[in-house]
């Protein structure tokens, strides 16, 4: 027990022994004690690498630039240094030396890869992915793969290896922030690097704008040559093409030209083609001709992995347990990123280490989902669910137990229970005076379904989005 206390006491002292500060003061004294030239040459570039307490003494390790400096400092200044250390810390000090060549250089240029143009082989590719409208960090290397996106990842890899051959078109759908665009751009990066042909990423809005511009200025030819000579065309959020006849027609022809010339098409959407309303049948059937894959909401492990990747990109040293804490509380990928940024700012402004405690503090003030603070009434939820499924609210509250009504009813109960956090009895009362066990069954069933298939997940997310938007 005694030993433990001793050890604890040592630990506390260790915290106080800020090596950098101590060494700064020692150097301050030495600067006065020796001539300027001597100081600059021998002592200026030394640093205190390590300081340890061993019994009643302090053992210090000092880093020096070269053997000659070490031996000279050892012979001429060691005693003086030790004396200063003793005066500052009040303990006997032993000083040892280590060659640390790092400090003997002028501070190295930021980023180790800056070796000059010869070594900037990515430069060429850079112009390629710039031209292709790609984001530099959206690559396969930065993509975390888990159960929910494994299939989509594999398909994308296959497509990027053999564009135009493997699955054409590739249609990726999934909810907000699950990584559709990232995955699609990753395909673009691989293809752009290979340089087999032109690559272009655009949102369906850009496509529309280009077309409108073309019609307005009578330069549709230009637009055609832009889109119809590509090796890989990536269109983000195709669902926005729904209902726009001219755009769909132009896209249809672009699609046919590309497909005929062996070009690859990748599309993303928030729902499968069959569920995009006001989409022309010929497009719908073509979308389904290749491969349709979905990406589900990331699970806890994947979220943790995503966090760690994002932290590495932002050069944040995020401990594993902190990452897990965040991943537990926050579900959306964009929110994860936002939290990470806030965490970094918090840590910097308060100059606290980025650890578990900081995360807990931040999540507390944040209270779970950011941006989800709108207060909803049960009635609004009921109307939204009824609207979504095309079922009257009275039917939802009623006694009928046909499948088409039971499922929406269960989802309604789930939402009331989870999002509005109403008690079971209250939920039961609101939905036509049902027993609380019915509510439990309903929530459990929906939860299980969400885990099993991404469709349910999508429906719930859609509903949540609507609830947030309405009013």
């Amino acid at each position: 027990m005694d030993n433990l206390y001793k050890w604890l006491a040592t630990e506390v002292i260790m915290d106080d022994l800020n090596a950098e500060k101590i060494w700064e003061s020692v150097m301050g004294v030495m600067r006065l004690a020796v001539s300027g030239a001597t100081f600059n040459l021998y002592l200026k570039q030394t640093e205190l690498l390590e300081i340890k307490e061993v019994e009643d003494r302090l053992v210090c390790e000092v880093g020096v630039g070269s053997v000659m400096i070490r031996d000279t400092v050892d012979q001429r200044f060691k005693g003086q240094l030790a004396m200063e250390m003793e005066r500052l810390t009040g303990k006997r000090c032993e000083i040892g030396f280590r060659i640390e060549s790092k400090s003997s250089f002028p501070k190295a240029v930021e980023g180790q890869n800056k070796f000059g143009p010869l070594f900037e082989e990515t430069k060429k590719d850079e112009s390629r992915w710039r031209m292709a409208n790609l984001r530099p960090d959206y690559t396969f290397e930065n993509y975390a793969v888990g159960g929910s996106n494994q299939m989509a990842y594999a398909a994308s890899q296959a497509v990027s290896q053999k564009p135009g051959e493997a699955y054409n078109p590739l249609f990726v759908y999934g909810g907000v922030g699950v990584g559709k665009t990232h995955l699609m751009q990753a395909i673009g990066h691989v293809c752009a690097e290979k340089g087999e042909g032109k690559v272009l990423f655009c949102t369906s809005e850009q496509f529309t704008n280009d077309l409108v511009e073309g019609i307005k200025n009578k330069t549709t030819e230009k637009m055609r040559s832009k889109y119809r000579q590509l090796k890989l065309l990536m269109i983000d959020d195709v669902q926005f093409m729904a209902g726009r006849v001219a755009v769909q027609e132009e896209f249809f022809h672009t699609y046919n030209t590309l497909a005929a010339s062996g070009g690859q098409i990748v599309m993303t959407s928030d729902r499968p083609p069959t569920e995009i309303s006001k989409l022309e049948a010929r497009l719908r059937s073509r979308f389904g001709a290749g491969l349709i894959v979905d990406i589900g909401q990331p699970d806890f492990e994947l979220r943790t992995a995503i966090l760690l990747i994002k932290a590495r990109q932002k050069r944040i040293d995020l401990p594993m347990e902190a990452a897990q804490l965040i991943a537990e509380k926050i579900e959306g990928v964009r929110e994860l990123e936002g939290t990470l940024v806030r965490l970094k700012t918090e840590a910097e402004t308060k100059s606290r280490p980025l650890d578990k405690d900081l995360v807990i503090g931040l999540l507390k003030t944040n209270n779970g989902r950011p941006g989800m603070r709108k207060i909803l009434t049960p009635n609004e939820v009921m109307n939204a669910v009824g609207d979504y499924f095309g079922v009257g609210v009275q039917l939802l509250k009623g006694e009928r137990r046909t499948r088409s009504i039971v499922w929406p009813r269960q989802i309604l109960m789930f939402l009331l229970r989870k999002d509005l956090e109403l008690p079971q009895e209250e939920v039961g009362r609101l939905v036509g005076g049902r027993d609380h066990s019915t509510v439990i069954h309903a929530t459990e069933k929906v939860e299980a379904a969400m885990k099993l298939d991404s469709k349910t997940d999508l429906v719930i997310n859609d509903l949540r989005k609507r609830l947030l938007m309405n009013g």
């Binding site: 070269s66 143009p117 070594f119």
Partner: protein, 378 residues
């Protein structure tokens, strides 16, 4: 300290050590040479803390002792002496030099002020983990200095690029230097290499290599001894009666193999002499225009040209063997000249992949030496 040495020996020793004397004069003692009279002779030493040279000069030692005196003036004075025997005698912090009727007194600094210089003499028995003793031919060092070290960076903004990198794979030694704009690599194959392992991964300052080459050139010794202390980031070279102590550069050396192209679109083979003449001629105009010269391969013609908006322009066509696509590439003519002067091949090959990728230079028959030059965008 009281000794007598031969003027010729002392002069040679002083000339050698004063090359590393610190010129910027941060600390007065670093502008000095350390004279140590010991039983086995006179030791001369100078250092700028990055590099140090030690020389042994045989002589008659009457009284042992140590003293430092300004290297430049002592070296110049001894150089101007004609006599046979030079007498050196310390009086306090002063050094008296006497040679025939010439005398001089130098104000010195106490030897304890001089940095401590590591001693050579590592034996296999004393070697610890990370230590190595290697013997290589002096000729090899001369080759490396001439063919590779020139390509190292001269500015200190990327410290590791001021060095020459050694890599060992089996019985092959690859030596590389680059400044980020051009690169030179020499591969040396020799079954006779022994214990080269400790050289692997070392980055030695290019200046060390150049000094070493000078030392090797001036010595009759065929081999030199290298003691590697990787734990101390230090290497000691021994040639005859001289030692050179150098630090090893730290930091990550860039991946070199990755940037050496394995294929090419255009290939030109020319006489080196022809090319040197042509580059020198058009270079006159390149000076006015950022040193840019252009190589054009078109319709089986190889053209070299440079243009300066004020001064005029020049075109030279030289005979060459060509294969592959036509092409055009612009280089800094100094880099091209540096390469052409570094190789001994009679005919050189230029391989290129378009006008943005580095041009590869090598000897027609000698594949061991390779140079990469980054083109200039025009």
């Amino acid at each position: 300290m009281k000794i007598s040495v031969l003027q010729k020996d002392l002069n040679r020793g002083l000339a050698n050590v004063s090359r590393v004397v610190a010129t910027r004069g941060q600390l007065p003692v670093l502008a000095n040479v350390l004279l140590e009279a010991e039983k086995d002779g006179l030791k001369l030493a100078a250092t700028n803390l990055e590099m140090g040279i030690r020389e042994w000069v045989g002589g008659k030692i009457e009284v042992e002792g140590r003293l430092t005196v300004p290297a430049k003036s002592l070296s110049e004075f001894v150089g101007s002496l004609g006599g046979e025997v030079v007498g050196l005698e310390a009086e306090g912090d002063k050094l008296k030099v006497r040679c025939g009727k010439y005398t001089a007194t130098f104000a010195g600094i106490d030897a304890s002020e001089f940095p401590v210089m590591p001693k050579s003499g590592l034996t296999p028995a004393k070697a610890k983990e990370g230590h190595g003793i290697i013997e290589i031919g002096s000729k090899l060092v001369l080759d490396i200095a001439m063919q590779v070290a020139y390509a190292a960076a001269s500015d200190e903004s990327r410290p590791v690029l001021t060095g020459v990198r050694f890599a060992v794979a089996g019985d092959q030694l690859a030596v590389t230097a680059t400044d980020g704009f051009r690169l030179a690599r020499k591969k040396i194959q020799d079954k006779g290499f022994k214990d080269m392992g400790s050289l692997d991964g070392l980055v030695l300052p290019a200046r060390t290599i150049l000094e070493l080459a000078r030392m090797a050139d001036g010595s009759a010794e065929k081999n030199m001894r290298i003691e590697v202390f990787s734990d101390n980031n230090q290497v000691i070279f021994g040639v005859g009666r001289s030692d050179l102590i150098s630090r090893v550069l730290g930091g990550n050396y860039p991946e070199v193999d990755k940037i050496i192209p394995s294929e090419h679109k255009t290939r030109v083979i020319v006489e080196r002499g022809d090319l040197i003449n042509a580059v020198r001629a058009v270079g006159i105009f390149a000076r006015e225009n950022n040193n840019i010269i252009k190589f054009t391969i078109i319709n089986s013609q190889f053209l070299i040209s440079a243009r300066a908006s004020q001064a005029g322009e020049s075109n030279v066509e030289i005979e060459a063997e060509m294969e592959g696509e036509d092409g055009e590439i612009a280089f800094n003519y100094k880099y091209v000249m540096d390469y052409l002067n570094s190789t001994a091949s009679e005919r050189v090959v230029l391989e290129m992949n378009g006008n943005l990728a580095p041009g590869v230079w090598r000897g027609e028959k000698d594949e061991s030496l390779l140079a990469l030059v980054m083109p200039v965008r025009v």
